[in-house]
C-alpha cells in the first residue's frame, strides 16, 4: 500500500467529519481564493500548480494540473510554472550557501 492513494483526493470532504466548523471555514476561504479577481482563474491555477510542486504534494499536483487544463493553460505554460517553482527551490538552497560561507568565515583566518 502506498501512503498516497489517488482516490483519497476525492475523499477530501471526509476531513469535515470532525470539527466541521473549521473545515467549512477552510473551504469557504479556499474556494473564494480560486475565483476570478485581480488575478484570473487561469493565473491562479498556474500559481497553485507551482506551489503544489514546491510543496511536493501529489494530491495538489494532480488537482492543479487538471485545474490548469480546465482553465485553458497548455503544457508549455504549466512546465514553465514548474520550472519557476523549481528555480525558486534551487535559488532558496543556493542563497543559504552564504550562511555556510558566513559560518566558515567566522572560524577561519
Amino acid at each position: 500500500m502506498s501512503y498516497y492513494e489517488e482516490d483519497d483526493l476525492g475523499r477530501f470532504a471526509e476531513m469535515g467529519k470532525h470539527r466541521p466548523d473549521l473545515f467549512e471555514k477552510f473551504m469557504a476561504w479556499y474556494q473564494a481564493c480560486q475565483e476570478d479577481g485581480a488575478l484570473s482563474r487561469r493565473e491562479k491555477a498556474l500559481i497553485g500548480l507551482a506551489v503544489a510542486h514546491a510543496l511536493q504534494c501529489p494530491y495538489c499536483i494532480d488537482a492543479y494540473a487538471q485545474s490548469c487544463l480546465e482553465s485553458g493553460s497548455n503544457i508549455e505554460q504549466m512546465t514553465e510554472a514548474v520550472h519557476m517553482a523549481s528555480a525558486l527551490r534551487g535559488g532558496a538552497s543556493l542563497i543559504h550557501g552564504l550562511q555556510t560561507h558566513n559560518s566558515v568565515n567566522k572560524v577561519s583566518m
Binding site: D7, G10, S40, R41, R42, Q66, L69, E70, S71, G72, N74, I75, E76
Partner: protein
Amino acid sequence: MRRDLPIVETNQAASGASGAWFDFDERLAAHNMDLRAGTVETLQVNVGKLCNQACKHCHVDASPTRTEIMTRDVAEGVIAVVRKYHVPTLDITGGAPELNPSFRFLVREARAAGAHVIVRHNLTVMFEFGQADLPEFFREHNVEVVSSLPYFLEQQTDAQRGRGVFEKSVEALRRLNKVGYGREESGLILNLVYNPVGAFLPPAQEAIEKDFKRELGSRYDVVFNRLYTITNMPIKRFLDYLRRTKNEERYMRKLVEAFNPRAVEGLMCRSFLSVDWTGRLFDCDFNQMLDLPVASELGQTLADFDPEKFAHRRIMTGRHCFGCTAGAGSSCGGAVVSS
C-alpha cells in the same frame, strides 16, 4: 470500493430508474426538473459519417472509410420539411458534410426557403478535390461557418485531429478571412469550436476566447467571431479513448459532480431536432450516434415531423447527457450559462 460503469454506452431511457450515480433522470428529478423540448428552432441534419479526418474524440466515429451518407431523396425530404414548416435554421453536420454530393443542394434550397444555414465545416476539407471554392460558396449563400480548432497551437490540435491538421486549418481560416469571414464589418460569421484535448472539462468560454483571439491574431493573423467551448461526450471514439486510458470512471465522475441545474434550460435538445443520414429523428446528434431515437409515440422519421406534435416532447436521455450539463453546460452553440 469502486463502482464500475456498465459496458453499454447508454444506461436507460427516460423512464428507467437505475439508482446509479450516473442516472441523469434521477439527477433531474432531484432538482424537480423534467427535460422537455420547447419549439423546434433548428433542424440539425447529419448528412453522413464520411469525413476526410478521423479525430480521436469524434462522437460520430467519422472517417474516410465510412460509407453511410444521406441520399438525394432524403435531402429533398429535409428541404420539404424546411419549406413546409418555415424551419428557422438548418444546421448541417457530418462527417465532413461538404463531401456529400447533396450538400450544396441542401444549402441552396434551404437558403432559398428563407432558412438561416449553419455548416459544421472542419476546415481541412477545403483542400480535398473539388472543394477549393468553399469560401466563395459559403459567402455567396451567407452561410454561418462553425469550425473546430481545439487549440491555438499545433501540438494540441494535431494530437486530437491528426498530423498536419493545424497547418491546413490555419491556411483554411486565412482563406475564409480573405473572403470576409470572421471580420466584424462583413456580416459573414465564422465561429470556432474548442474541444478539450483529453479527459477534462473546457475552460470558461469568455476567457479562452480571449486567448484564442490574441494568439491566432498575433501568431497567424487570423480572425474569427466567437469561440464555442464544447465538452467531449463519453460516447463512441472518445469513450474508446477513455476506456483505453482507464479514464472512464474519473471522467464520468467529473461530469456528474459538475452537474449544473442552470444549464438544463439552455440545452440544445430543447430547441433542436436531429436528423440522421436515413431521415430518422433524434433529440440530438449524440442520441443519434447511440441509436436512441425520439420517443416512439411521436413517429421517428422526417415524414412524421410536425412542429406542434414535437414541441414540448419528452427528451430521451442517457448518462452522456451529463456532458451537456457539466459546469457552464455545453451545446452546439458552446457554453449555455456564463461561468
